[in-house]
């Protein structure tokens, strides 16, 4: 299950659960007044913790490495289309909200939101 490089600009190494060396795909999109941080699970190429499981810890590590403030970014998890028989979802983007005392919450972005994010018109179908 190799992930197409179109989903990320760089591979970001991070410390996962129990300090497991882990990797994710990272793309940062700067829009006027807003930074969008998009993390993509690399599966076969991630030796450690998944981006979903790493959650807030991964977001913090990215912010620290890139000089961003967690409060200021919109943090998105990308579920890439893997073209695999045993994977059932097309490309999807979730906005993640981290809460102090409860688990993170996820909101699926609409096609329009995804297209606006990437300044494109019809790429993402659902």
């Amino acid at each position: 299950m190799y992930i197409s490089e179109k989903y990320y600009d760089e591979v970001f190494p991070f410390s996962g659960s129990w300090e497991m060396p882990s990797k994710c795909g990272l793309k940062i999109i700067e829009k006027p007044g807003q930074s969008y941080v998009i993390v993509t699970e690399l599966y076969q190429d991630n030796p450690g913790t998944s981006v979903t499981y790493a959650g807030r810890s991964l977001a913090r590590q990215i912010c620290e490495a890139k000089g961003l403030r967690l409060e200021d970014i919109i943090y998105l998890e990308c579920n890439p289309d893997m073209n695999s028989k045993l994977s059932f979802y097309e490309e999807e983007y979730y906005q993640v909200t981290f809460n102090d005392s409860s688990p993170a919450t996820y909101r699926l972005l609409s096609c329009e939101e995804v297209n606006a994010l990437f300044d494109r018109t019809t790429d993402v179908k659902r």
Binding site: M20, T52, L86, Y106, L108
Partner: protein
């Protein structure tokens, strides 16, 4: 460091609730005895598998180690730990599900061991002797050399408890660790296992010599990882004349032929669609005299109700020997868990329910209740014409005949004919 005082370690494998309506076989667990092989000589270990005997909480011991493989064992493991800790005895946890549920296990533990024990457990025991046990021993990223894996301590089993009406259960055995695949419902990649690590062949042979059982279950994740190694393994196994069960074998006539010569009895083969490929795959196993137990995962997002019914019909057409149905279960640290969590579709986080027979999430095409019904439908439909017991008996007869022809057949133990896993067999009289 060698100590004069031989410490007493009580090793426990917690019980779990078995699935309703299915034939229960208690196999001797492999994880605890593989762990015990890594213990230094100055440790006196006793083993209790709670699935076949009760725990003696009053047994004199210095330290308790709880080994957990399944998510359905963790809550019971925590309860056992609480009981011992109340009595002032420290408890360490290890094993696959201790790793998958490590954060939640910490409050119930004096220490949680993450990783493989070979070469590292001595350090933990040294710390305990010094009264300096750490809360976490994290060796997830420092896997031991595979050469250091020694023969499992099968001497710790109470053998008579792994008998059903005098028939000895198979012994579990592993020839490799890790898996190069990263499948949707599986957590092996998180467990540090993405690199396939075959054991040296001389170590495999050494261990096979120690197993006083002519039937095995080779529990490696998949034997189809390295064709040359797999063929060498089978060549080396031929002289032992053992009969064995395993997961997938490479789909290659040369490999299948060697597997058959090496004693392949039946394999677990995933059946995920109704393709000709699957049909031919099953036929090729059968051509070499190898039985097939299909493993069928229900409730995946690409399955409609009609797909599931068609799949069950297909299983009957392709002449599977056995079928094992499970429902999709989002075990922590799997892609399935991440996907369903993000989509807000997991509604039950009670680990006792993560037995792969109880639906804990909202399926895509129907309700969770309907998936539960389809799961029951699949079991009932497949075994309607011939029961699971009858099909198992046929497979058993096949292997017994092969063993008789080769002079390796061991008659059942008549002294245990009225016992099933240590308990008296209750005979129901005919009216």
């Amino acid at each position: 460091m060698k100590y004069k005082y031989k410490m007493k370690l009580k090793l426990i494998y917690p019980r779990w609730e078995k699935l309703k309506g299915q034939t229960t076989f208690n196999l001797p667990p492999h994880g605890p005895v593989a762990f015990a092989a890594a213990l230094p000589d100055d440790v006196d270990v006793s083993f209790t598998d709670e699935n076949v005997e009760a725990i003696d909480f009053d047994e004199e011991t210095d330290l308790v180690a709880i080994s957990m493989m399944l998510s359905t064992q963790v809550k019971r493991g925590w309860a056992i730990a609480t009981e011992f800790r109340t009595r002032g005895i420290q408890v360490i946890f290890g094993g696959i599900s201790a790793m998958l549920h490590a954060e939640e296990t910490l409050p119930y533990a004096d220490a949680v061991f993450l990783g493989e024990a070979e070469g590292y457990i001595e350090q933990v025991l040294d710390d305990w002797r010094k009264g300096k046990l750490k809360k976490v021993y994290n060796f997830m990223t420092s896997q031991p050399h595979i050469e250091s894996v020694g023969p499992a301590r099968r001497d710790l089993y109470k053998r008579e408890l792994y008998n059903h009406k005098g028939v000895q259960m198979v012994d579990l055995f592993h020839a490799s660790r890790g898996c190069k695949y990263s499948c949707y419902p599986c957590a092996v990649s998180y467990l540090g296992g993405r690199i396939f690590r075959p054991r040296p062949m001389d170590k495999v042979i050494e261990e096979l010599h120690t197993i006083d059982n002519n039937r095995l279950f080779i529990v490696d994740n998949s034997l189809a990882q390295n064709k040359e190694w797999e063929m060498e393994l089978f060549r080396e196994m031929i002289p032992f004349k053992k009969k064995w069960i395993s997961h997938t074998i490479e789909d290659d006539p040369k490999v299948l032929d060697l597997a058959a010569q090496a004693g392949a009895w039946y394999v677990y083969q995933a059946v995920y669609d109704t393709s000709n490929y699957i049909k031919e795959r099953v036929r090729r196993y059968h051509d070499y005299g190898i039985g097939v137990e299909g493993t069928i995962l229900l409730g995946l997002d690409n399955q409609t109700e009609d797909d599931i019914k068609r799949l069950v019909d297909f299983l009957l057409e392709i002449d599977l020997d056995l079928a094992e149905f499970t429902v999709m279960t989002p075990f922590p640290h799997t892609k399935g868990y991440d996907d369903l969590l993000r989509q807000g579709r997991i509604f039950d986080f009670d680990w006792d329910h993560y037995n792969a027979g109880q639906v804990v999430f909202h399926p895509k095409h129907f309700s969770s209740g309907r998936l539960q019904e389809l799961y029951d439908y699949a079991w009932e439909s497949f075994y309607r014409e011939e029961s699971q017991e009858s099909r198992m008996f046929r497979l058993f007869c096949n292997v017994a005949i092969r063993e008789m022809n080769e002079g390796t057949y061991r008659p059942r133990n008549r002294n245990l004919a009225r016992k099933s896993f240590g308990k008296d067999v209750v005979r129901t009289g005919m009216k």
